[in-house]
Symmetry: C2
Subunit: 374 residues, 2 copies
């Protein structure tokens, strides 16, 4: 079985569609990866995640290293067995969350020392340790360890950070291949940094290609810069990365973000938005997002979305979901999450089909007309 074969089946403008073949299964691209932070896609059984159309999910190194612990997951047979998800799992490196969630961070060339947000215990995360943790988890797609600076920093700070991330990328690759057998079944992605700066992004891309990775992520976006600045960066960043390798835009995004990024050559995404919004009573539809807390849904017998094929839309009315959300019932979070993940996967499938049939520009125009004016 192929360790990692990326095949582009069709291109349409900047957009591409294809497949990534891996030992644990095939990933159709453009792909959306639901986030399974703590060894669970929140409020979803894994079989329902699969039925929604997901080929791969994401796990968070930072959360899992703290609870239940990477060594414990390994002892229990690895993350796939632990959480009953037999298909590919991509794990992040912990770099982003150690910055955003932990306390008392100290960053040096060696790595990041931090205190757990759960119990205050002290930890050191380095490129080598991040690779070891992702190996212990049994990750299929391992992410290089990087620093993700805020986009509003001075340019020389962005440059300094990016250059350290590139040194960490090299150490990540060395650590990954030191993992031996695991590296034979897993793939390693590098992460481009450089914030919104074209020249820094170019330098970062060149450094990563020089090291050599199975795929390339675009990091440091979706950190508050806004869609316009993100799209302006995506007008050049994907093209700086090898055309024959998957490009993964980390932490993105809203449905219209996905369409605009696919248009610009991105192949993979992850985001907590469909799951988190679902738990908060927000549903995504082809006519925009709606909040089920709104009293106007109290006697609405229609489904969340007329065109959606998810189990929630096949069975339940907006009136019932309004009731569950208002009453704070767990079933509301379950059904809304299932819908949102289903909608996201249906959107990815519609994009894959439109690209394959050479009509992506028309699809994107119609999507935006309906979604943004719904």
């Amino acid at each position: 079985m192929a360790r990692f074969d990326f095949t582009i089946r069709a291109t349409d403008g900047g957009a591409r569609t294809g497949t990534i073949a891996m030992p644990r299964g095939e990933i159709r691209t453009p792909a959306f990866m639901p986030v399974g932070t703590a060894a669970t896609v929140k409020a979803m059984k894994p079989e329902a995640v699969r039925e929604s159309g997901a080929d791969i999910i994401l796990g968070n190194t930072y959360h899992l290293m703290l609870r239940p612990g990477a060594e414990r997951v390994a002892k229990l047979g690895g993350l796939h067995r632990f959480m009953n998800w037999p298909r590919p799992i991509l794990t992040d490196s912990g770099g982003y969350q150690v910055m955003s969630l932990s306390d008392l961070r100290k960053i040096t060339e060696e790595g990041v020392t931090f205190a757990s947000h759960l119990d205050g215990s002290r930890h050191l995360l380095t490129p080598e340790r991040s690779m070891e943790i992702q190996r212990l988890l049994g990750s299929d797609i391992v992410m290089a360890f990087d620093e993700c600076p805020r986009a509003d920093q001075p340019r020389d700070e962005i440059a300094r950070s990016m250059e350290m991330s590139m040194r960490w990328a090299r150490r990540s690759r060395e650590g990954f291949y030191a993992g031996g057998e695991h590296a034979e079944g897993a793939a390693l992605f590098g992460i481009q940094q450089g914030a919104l700066d074209e020249e820094l992004r170019r330098q970062s891309a060149d450094a990563l290609v020089d090291i050599g990775f199975d795929g390339y992520a675009i990091g440091g976006l979706a950190v508050g810069e806004g869609q316009e600045a993100m799209f302006a960066t995506l007008d050049f960043a994907p093209d700086q990365l090898p055309a024959d390798r998957p490009r993964y835009l980390m932490g993105v995004g809203k449905p219209d973000d996905l369409v605009g990024a696919v248009e610009r050559g991105v192949d993979m995404f992850d985001c907590v938005l469909p799951t988190r919004s679902g738990r908060n009573g927000q549903a995504f539809t082809w006519n925009g997002a709606i909040n089920l807390r709104n009293a106007r849904f109290a006697e609405d017998t229609g489904p969340l979305d007329e065109r959606c094929t998810c189990p929630t839309c096949a069975t339940y009315s907006r009136a019932y979901l309004h009731h569950l959300v208002k009453a704070g019932e767990m079933l509301g979070a379950m059904l809304m999450t299932e819908h949102n993940l289903g909608f996201y996967q249906q959107l990815m499938q519609a994009m894959r089909e439109a690209i394959g049939e050479g009509r992506f520009a028309g699809f994107a125009t119609q999507f935006r007309r309906e979604y943004l004016n719904g």
Copy 2:
């Protein structure tokens, strides 16, 4: 189709097994009814509730009259359609919860005036209004409206309350049959009161039989009197009720409560325990209840119960459930609830089989040995 046919297939000592045939489906007895308070069995999809083995669920009049409102449920096509449960639903009368949950109660011969615990709005619940609400919900088994006094009250207070409940029972029957078409598809149960007093229970049973009901509930137990006092009451209360009608012990209970009550002639039960405990990390097993928060489960690769056939036990380890419960993940509540409901239904099925095969005494002895000493 039969409106309400109770057939006793076999008896074994005081225990009975049989079926209740109703237009929306058959109920195997002894039956355990999961509680679906606010039009949802918490953390469960209705299809999973059915797959666990439930033939009937319970809905709460008090909660549903306040949110989303009985008239609204009727407008939306009734409770079955609203919540996607096509099988029988038993609704309580609101009498118990108006006492335990509402504010500013005032009880008169007419009924109970109270303030909603949700928004403080004022409501009047009477036998007639309770029948109307249960009709609007589309209930299959309607409960008479009663007062449920605390068991530690003086005997004359218990007697006074029971006598008023019997007058309310007669008004309930009149209100129920005034409902016309609904009454043709639904059944009405009376509720015996009298706390722990054999003579008051006798008077209550005689009053109910004089009015005439499709089934008879034993109310006013499981309110803090303890298992010994409850069993002492069940040594006489079921036999005071007609042998050819179902006997329903309201709000009970723990697995060993169920076995002891079936032994004493009870046919139906409802309780929040399996669902509420599941959300709190407690699992029921053939060897007793276990709390998954306990650190001893952190690396336990076994299922919750070796003999359980529920989806949770088929798939997930105690170690994974320990992780989910500790992390406060919704999936933990979902999987634990599914197990507990599955375990309760497997216990009911085992009792039905043991009664049918004339070996219930041996079953009960072995159950208690394993469950209480596990």
